[in-house]
Symmetry: C2
DNA sequence: ATAGTTAACGGAATCGATTGCGTAAATTAA
DNA sequence: TTAATTTACGCAATCGATTCCGTTAACTAT
């Protein structure tokens, strides 16, 4: 296989009897080059198969036009939609997207953040790993003026762009919804305490109970490690076999919400009449399970688009931007069969 | 915000009284630098916060250590698992992953392939868009020695690495499975004819019917445009309202398979006894729907890992590699409630 | 007609690594 | 002890753009 030599602006310069500077300017629509020349050069570039070298351009101009994404794992509905939103808006602006998954491991997050840094990304979009507490590995980005947008799973002790939903209100509303359906003893499937999303959903749950005069029982709050299906099944079994089982569950994600429904059905517990369930995220499985799982909408793609836009805006302006801008998106309760009771008990 | 000047190998050279070449070699574990010096330099680099500049290194060495991925859309279970597999193996080898989604549009695929090319990726992994027929936009990669791995949705008229499953056998086995369950009139939900995956599944379906002496009816083969849930629902409705409805459906993906189950239930058609259904992919929804959807396993993550490995191997060897290597992975029929009949009719 | 602008382009340094070639010192072989 | 290697590094070109400063010619204003 013969490997062709690539066409550079020097080749174009020689061919057209212009200097490389003029070629470069023409290709970038610099105003000091006449329209005629620009047209001529662009046509020749096209014809000769010229393709810019981003490595060279990035090295010199110190702009890679690349957004780095640091997430836990890609193959989950929320995350893949998030990335889809990022990629679509980045692409429209001519930016590339570099991805890396930490698999929820702290050390991987550090390594990956370094790898992305080494590629001199224009900005970083991060959803923290489950384990991450220390933020030291993000400081070099700030020091070098590379904007970071934390999305969904954000830190509380680090000042930077953030794009989140109102997890507290969502948790409150989800719980309130169950209360309105007549639930008196509502359990909660909670995630890692140090991750804002789970902490706030739990706070919303607790406050909703309090404000509606319902008792808070420690035994009804299950702390999950990974919020997996199996973990959800076990927790549900344990709850339903209590002498005084709950009549409602607010699960911090849809996976465990669905597991609760399926487990309850297997145990002969009627959903929603004996046990009402609401999840979180609006994953595809939530509308497939029978009865379909009530849930909280999570604008994943939109959050991705906004995050990317923050980076693009930041790159566009040379002056010092306000790095502490926080975007809070609203959510909606999606009431489905798993919680809508015909006769309220 | 003060922006720090980045530390380069020149800074290290000055600080340690070595030449930049020695610094570079030491950092890359070049054998001609003594162990002592390597250790000294690496420690100083660490301490001074040195981070390599991939743009500079890539420009000079003509290796970006980056894999480009070109897929239709990320937020689908198969694709996100595929990318997850790619990313994990690429990362282990110190490679970055650039992603781009065509949204199944031909022109976007062209634009994205150019964008990836401009970043001088070390290799490209492609799952073709629904629309793509012409392969011209991939030629410049071949001409410049950049390996392409086509995965899942591959071209028939382009010679390059390919990683696929045996769609024909999978289609044959899925259909045979329905036949073994007693189905006599089996419908097929088929995808775009020019995409290998759908074409071959259909071929397998047709041959299975033929070899088992079942008639082939045009009306039972539904050609889908996007294989979406709504499309599946409509098709199922139409089929079930025929005077002589099918007693089995082999759907080319799980989404339409699930839609068939749900539609049948709504119309009062018993699954699997009156209508047995099998899908394709083993998406999460397939094990959630009731009855759970029989399907064909699709080793998405493994295919991603293998694809990435092809690129890594190709980059490692300087000699001309055999570009036409095709990897065919096996699949398994996952028999679940939607097709397993207690009493075979 | 002359000075002052503007338009259109060229020269050359620069970004931060990598690497072929050269060389002095240290080590080994004979 | 001397020649032959080997070890451990330095020099300087190079990758392919971008961009700060000119410079020339055409044009405009007075």
């Amino acid at each position: 296989m013969k490997i062709k030599k690539e066409v550079t602006i020097y080749d174009l310069a020689k061919e057209l009897n212009y200097s490389p500077s003029t070629i470069s300017r023409a290709l970038n629509n610099h105003k000091s080059i006449s329209k005629k020349t620009v047209k001529l050069i662009k046509e020749a570039a096209e014809e000769m198969g010229y393709r810019p070298n981003n490595l060279a351009a990035g090295l010199r101009s110190n702009k890679s036009n690349t957004i780095g994404v640091l997430i836990s794992r890609i193959n989950r509905p929320f995350v893949s939609s998030l990335i889809s939103g990022i990629e679509n808006t980045a692409r429209k602006a001519g930016y590339n997207v570099l991805i890396s998954q930490s698999n929820d491991k702290y050390q991987s997050e550090i390594n990956n953040s370094n790898a992305l840094y080494d590629s001199r990304i224009s900005g970083l979009i991060v959803s923290l790993s489950m384990e991450t507490i220390d933020m030291g590995h993000f400081e070099k980005f700030m020091e070098n003026g590379i904007p970071i947008v934390f999305v969904d799973r954000v830190p509380s002790n680090f000042n930077s762009y953030k794009v989140v939903i109102d997890n507290y209100t969502a948790g409150y509303s989800a719980t309130k919804h169950l209360i309105e359906q007549g639930c008196k003893r509502i359990a909660h499937f909670a995630g890692a305490k140090h991750r804002n999303v789970y902490l706030e959903r739990k706070k919303g749950y607790l406050d909703a109970l309090r404000e509606h005069g319902l008792p808070i029982e420690d035994k009804l709050v299950v702390n999950f490690k990974t919020l997996s299906f199996d973990e959800g099944t076990k927790a549900t079994e344990k709850l339903l076999k209590m002498t005084n089982p709950p009549d409602g569950i607010f699960a911090a994600n849809d996976t465990t919400g669905v597991s609760a429904i399926m487990c309850a059905k297997k145990l002969g517990v009627k959903v929603p009449d004996q046990l009402a369930v609401i999840g979180f995220n609006d994953d595809p499985i939530s509308s497939i399970v029978q009865p379909s799982l009530s849930t909280v909408s999570h604008p994943a793609s939109k959050m991705g688009a906004i995050s990317a836009k923050r980076i693009l805006e930041h790159s566009a302006q040379s002056y010092d931007a306000d790095l502490s801008e926080i975007t809070v998106l609203g959510t909606e309760i999606i009431a489905r069969g798993s919680s809508l009771r015909t006769v309220k008990s």
